[in-house]
C-alpha cells in the first residue's frame, strides 16, 4: 500500500464484539454483568417492536431491564435524547442498551453523556470535550451498514438550529456490540443492498483517504472481500444467515476503518445530495461511488489496484492502472448484481439539484481527505452529471 516514513497515526477501536446467531439474547445479560451493571434501559424504535425483535431480548434481560424507551424517530433529535435520558434517570439506569439502526444507536450514545455528566446535550456540542468514561452502552444493531456500533460520533437533529449536530467523543464509544445475524434477516433487498453499499463505500474511501493507515486499510480491505462475496447472497436470499453475518462483520470492520481513516468525496457528495434532494444516504453512496472512483483514478490507482485484488477482478499481469480500472468496473458490476439503483434521477434529482449540491460538496469536510485534490465545484458537478 506504500506508507512513507512520516506515517504517524492513532488507531482507536475499543468496542468489544460479540458475534453469532442468537447472541443478542444469549449474551446480552452476561455482558451487562461483566460491565458490573444491573439496571438497563433499552432504547429502540417502533419498527423494531413491530418486527418482533425486542421481546426476546428484553425477556433475556429479565428484571435487569428497568424500562424501554421506544419513541426514537428516523432522524432523532435533542428533545428525544433529553426525554430518553430523563426516563433513564427516573428508572435508575446504570447502562444503556440500544437495539436498532443508526438513529437509535446515536440517541443512546447521547443519552450516555447526559446520564454521566448531566446538563443538556447542547453543552457537549463539539469534539473530545469529555474527560472520563461515560455510562456503559451495549449496541445491538439491526441493520448492517452504518458502522455506528463501533464509531464514537453521534449525529442528532437540533430543532432550534434546524440542522444536525455532531458530537465526537472517544470516551463515548460503545463498550460492546452484539452482532446477531438473525436480527437483519428480514431487511428487504433494497435496504440490504443500499446499507451494504454504504459499508462498501466506507471501506473504499478509508483505504484511499489522505489519512489512511495500515490498520484501517487491513480492516477496510477485508470488509471489501466479505461484502463482494456475501452482499449479493444476502440480497438474493435474505434468510441466508451465513451471508447476513459476514455482511454485518464487514460493516463493523468498515466502521472501524473509516472511523480512523476518514472518508472522501463520495460522502461529501452523498451528504450534499441528501440535503438538497433527500436521496437516502446509502443509495447516494452506492450510486456515486464508482463515478467518484473514476474521478480519483489518477491519484488513487495504487489503492484501487489493491481493491481490485480484494474483489478478485484483477487479471494476472495487469498494470496498476489496468487493475485500478478493473476495480471501478467491479464496483459498477457489483451494484448492478445486487439490484442497486444506478441513477440519481430515479430519486427525482434534477439538474438544478446537482448544481446546488456540487457547490455544497466543496464545503463538506469529507472532501479534504479525498485522494485527488478537488479544485472547484465544476469537477464535482461533472461527477454528478454522470450519475444523474
Amino acid at each position: 500500500m506504500g506508507y512513507d516514513q512520516d506515517l504517524s497515526f492513532v488507531y482507536f477501536g475499543p468496542t468489544k464484539i460479540i458475534f453469532g446467531s442468537g447472541s443478542s439474547t444469549s449474551e446480552v445479560e452476561s455482558e451487562m454483568s461483566a460491565l458490573k451493571c444491573s439496571r438497563a434501559i433499552v432504547v429502540t424504535d417502533q419498527g423494531i417492536i413491530k418486527a418482533g425483535l425486542l421481546d426476546k431480548i428484553t425477556k433475556s434481560l429479565g428484571e435487569k431491564c428497568v424500562g424501554v424507551f421506544s419513541d426514537v424517530p428516523q432522524d432523532s433529535g435533542m428533545d428525544v435524547v433529553d426525554r430518553a435520558a430523563a426516563f433513564a434517570k427516573e428508572k435508575g439506569a446504570d447502562i444503556v442498551i440500544s437495539i436498532g439502526g443508526g438513529s437509535v444507536i446515536d440517541t443512546a450514545k447521547c443519552m450516555c453523556i447526559l446520564l454521566t455528566e448531566g446538563g443538556s446535550l447542547a453543552d457537549f456540542e463539539g469534539i473530545q470535550l469529555l474527560t472520563r468514561p461515560q455510562t456503559p452502552h451495549i449496541v445491538i444493531p439491526t441493520t448492517a451498514g452504518t458502522g455506528s456500533e463501533v464509531t464514537w460520533a453521534a449525529v442528532i437533529y437540533d430543532k432550534s438550529k434546524g440542522q444536525k449536530i455532531l458530537i465526537v467523543e472517544s470516551y463515548n464509544a460503545p463498550r460492546v456490540a452484539i452482532l446477531d445475524p438473525t436480527l437483519t434477516a428480514k431487511l428487504p433487498p433494497l435496504l440490504t443492498a443500499s446499507t451494504g453499499m454504504d459499508a462498501f463505500c466506507h471501506a473504499v474511501e478509508a483505504i484511499s483517504s489522505m489519512q489512511r493507515e495500515p490498520i484501517a486499510d487491513a480492516l477496510g480491505m477485508h470488509a471489501i472481500r466479505l461484502l463482494n462475496k456475501y452482499l449479493p447472497q444476502c440480497v438474493k436470499n435474505g434468510s441466508d444467515l451465513t451471508a447476513r453475518g459476514q455482511v454485518q462483520l464487514a460493516a463493523t470492520m468498515a466502521g472501524w476503518s473509516f472511523g480512523n481513516a476518514m472518508i472522501g468525496i463520495v460522502h461529501a457528495m452523498a451528504h450534499s445530495i441528501g440535503a438538497v434532494a433527500h436521496v437516502p444516504h446509502g443509495i447516494a453512496n452506492g450510486i456515486l461511488l464508482p463515478h467518484c472512483m473514476e474521478f480519483n483514478l489518477p491519484d488513487a490507482a495504487n489503492y484501487y489496484a489493491e481493491i481490485a485484488q480484494a474483489m478478485g477482478v484483477c487479471e494476472k499481469g495487469s498494470t496498476t492502472k489496468q487493475a485500478a480500472e478493473a476495480a471501478v468496473k467491479g464496483v459498477f458490476d457489483l451494484t448492478k448484481k445486487i439490484g442497486h439503483p444506478q441513477k440519481l434521477s430515479e430519486f427525482g434529482v434534477t439538474e438544478e439539484n446537482i448544481i446546488k449540491a456540487a457547490d455544497m460538496s466543496m464545503s463538506d469536510g469529507s472532501i479534504v481527505n479525498n485522494p485527488r485534490y478537488v479544485a472547484d465545484s465544476g469537477e464535482v458537478l461533472e461527477i454528478y452529471k454522470k450519475a444523474l
Partner: protein, 141 residues
C-alpha cells in the same frame, strides 16, 4: 527573519498580518463568520507557567480582533479550542494536523462541529499561515 515569542501579542500580530495579507485565505474564508478562542494549558516545565488565552475573530475573509485575553473572554468565542502547550507547538510547527489532533482527542473543540467540518479549509489555511510565522517557542527561547 524576525522571530516572535510564541503565544504573545506580538506573535499574534504577526500571525494576523499573514492572514490579512493572504489572497488565498480571503477567497477560502469568504463564508466564515465568527470568533475562535485558543487556550494553551499551562505547562511550567516548558516555560508556560499560566494558561494562555487568545481571542481571534474572522468575518467573510477579513480578520478582526486578534489579542491575548482572559479566561472569561475566551469563553465568549463562537468556537473554543483547548489543548496542552506541547500539542499547540506541534500544530504551529506543522508537525501535527489540527483536524487529526481534534479527532484523536489531542485538542478539544467546543462549538458547532458541522460548521467547522463545512469550513475545514478555512481552519487549515489559518494554521498554514501560522506556520509561516517565525516562532520562538517558550521552551526553546
Amino acid at each position: 527573519m524576525t522571530g516572535y515569542k510564541g503565544f504573545t501579542q506580538e506573535w499574534m500580530d504577526a500571525w494576523k498580518e499573514k492572514i490579512a495579507g493572504s489572497k488565498e485565505y480571503k477567497e477560502i474564508a469568504k463564508d466564515w463568520e465568527g470568533s475562535v478562542s485558543i487556550t494553551v494549558n499551562a505547562d511550567p516545565s516548558k516555560n508556560v507557567p499560566e494558561p494562555v488565552y487568545m481571542f481571534t475573530d474572522y468575518w467573510h475573509g477579513d480578520v478582526r480582533d486578534f489579542f491575548i485575553c482572559d479566561a472569561a473572554k475566551a469563553q465568549e468565542a463562537k468556537f473554543i479550542m483547548t489543548g496542552d502547550y506541547a500539542r499547540w507547538k506541534q500544530v504551529a510547527k506543522k508537525e501535527l494536523d489540527a483536524t487529526k489532533a481534534l479527532m484523536q482527542g489531542k485538542l478539544k473543540l467546543r462549538g458547532d462541529l458541522t460548521y467547522i467540518v463545512r469550513n475545514v479549509k478555512t481552519i487549515n489555511k489559518v494554521i498554514d499561515l501560522l506556520t509561516e510565522v517565525n516562532t520562538i517557542f517558550p521552551d526553546e527561547g
